[in-house]
């Protein structure tokens, strides 16, 4: 048996894990499922907490960064990105 990583990326409405999911992505290192852009219109969980309750381990969250003077109103990338993982046993 070997371990493989499944990665779930959730984009939330704010920096709080108990706010709603507004964007999501899945990457499956086991190869059992294939995900791609536009493959689902409904989020896998309503909030970030939902992912924790389902066994996903939070491994990274975006820091809160002060706004650069003169650039306070520019919008760009999604701001509240949370990376989760599950480690799954697979046959060698």
């Amino acid at each position: 048996m070997a371990l493989r990583q499944q990665v779930l990326v959730l984009y939330l409405k704010s920096s709080a894990l108990d706010t709603e999911v507004i964007g999501w992505a899945n990457y499956d290192g086991t190869g059992e499922t294939v995900h791609m852009a536009g493959d689902c219109d409904e989020p896998p969980y309503r909030t970030g907490i939902g992912a924790l309750r389902d066994g996903w381990r939070l491994i990274q969250a975006t820091p809160l960064v002060p706004h650069t003077p003169g650039d306070e109103f520019r919008t760009s990338y999604l701001k509240y990105e949370f990376f989760f993982e599950k480690l799954v046993s697979v046959s060698d």
Partner: protein, 325 residues
């Protein structure tokens, strides 16, 4: 020639807030059929269509995707046009694209968004291949990553991209996916590839002859084609040569357009058709805080379009610009 049908103020406000306008089946079938014929479209799985790969000179199952593209580019009647050409000189009269551009609704929408003397940037025929093409070359059939076209573009002025769907697009054909309201976000092209899905994303499912006019900044991507048929979408990018101020039919702008409304505390519901409502309507994917920044950026774009820096909606900009001496 019939007068162009200019956009009205509500349509312009919609474009400002959401970044697109969609016109279903606005292109007559005669033009759609002519366009498909001019590109040498093949319907090799549709026995009723009477058009087969063999008729087009190729056996689709036996050629690769690159070869198929090369065949279309070499044999189609789509003109090769230099970037920077006046749109008026880009398409010969009488060809399908020339006839499409002459439609009053198309001319009016283009004039309203980028002006009469707009220039041609580029065009491209996007072909989405069915599964068997990928099986033939041992590749996975997947959707296109979410992206913003071109490169980082912080301008207030904007280009418009016309997406032309010359045939019916069903859900399984994987019509273009886009996320309304993302057009004012300044990002670097494919840097947003990681965003597989977003709340409120739309997939184009449409009748033949549908046109989508998009702000150049819209986040989008081609869908995966799970049908047995080829999917074609033709995209044209146009650039303004004049400041994009009051190019549309402004006769419907209400007289109280510059007045403020009560905000947060009011009796009844605000008028959803009010332009201020259109400019401050949230998208499902909006973050709690940056959704408000989207309102500010929409209002700034509307000021640019109006040519009037006094405009504000629901006090969003007035509040942060208020610095009494």
């Amino acid at each position: 020639m019939t007068d162009p049908v200019l956009l009205n103020s509500q349509q312009m406000a919609h474009f400002t807030a959401r970044g697109f306008l969609r016109f279903d089946a606005v292109v007559p079938d005669s033009i759609n059929q002519a366009f498909l014929s001019e590109i040498g479209a093949i319907e090799e799985m549709d026995e009723d269509a009477g058009i087969h790969a063999e008729d087009a000179g190729i056996h689709a199952e036996h050629v690769g995707i690159a070869e198929h593209y090369a065949h279309i580019m070499a044999s189609s009647a789509i003109p090769v046009v230099r970037a920077g050409t006046l749109l008026a000189d880009a398409y010969p009269p009488g060809c399908a694209l020339g006839n499409l551009m002459a439609l009053p609704e198309v001319r009016g929408t283009i004039e309203s968004l980028v002006g009469k003397g707009c220039i041609f940037d580029h065009h491209f025929l996007h072909v989405s291949f069915p599964e068997r093409f990928y099986q033939a070359v041992g590749r996975r059939n997947v959707s296109q990553h979410t992206h913003q076209d071109s490169t980082i573009d912080p301008r207030r002025a904007f280009d418009v991209q016309i997406m032309y769907f010359p045939h019916e697009v069903t859900r399984e054909m994987g019509g273009t996916r886009f996320v309304p309201g993302t057009h004012l976000r300044v990002v670097s092209e494919a840097a947003i590839s990681r965003y597989q899905n977003m709340l409120g994303q739309q997939h184009v499912v449409c009748p033949a002859g549908t046109l989508l006019f998009m702000h150049h900044g819209m986040w989008h991507g081609g869908g995966v084609n799970l049908s047995e048929r080829m999917r074609y979408m033709f995209k044209i990018r146009l650039c303004p040569t004049v400041r994009q101020t009051r190019l549309w039919d402004t006769s419907d702008l209400p007289s109280n357009h510059l007045e403020q409304r009560p905000i947060f505390w009011f009796k009844g519901q605000p008028d959803p058709e009010h332009i201020h409502s259109t400019l401050t309507k949230p998208e499902p994917w909006h973050e709690q805080d940056t959704g408000r920044l989207e309102y500010l950026n929409r209002i700034r774009l509307w000021r640019y379009l109006l040519g009037d820096e006094r405009f504000d909606a629901d006090y969003w900009i007035t509040r942060v610009e208020n610095e009494p001496d």
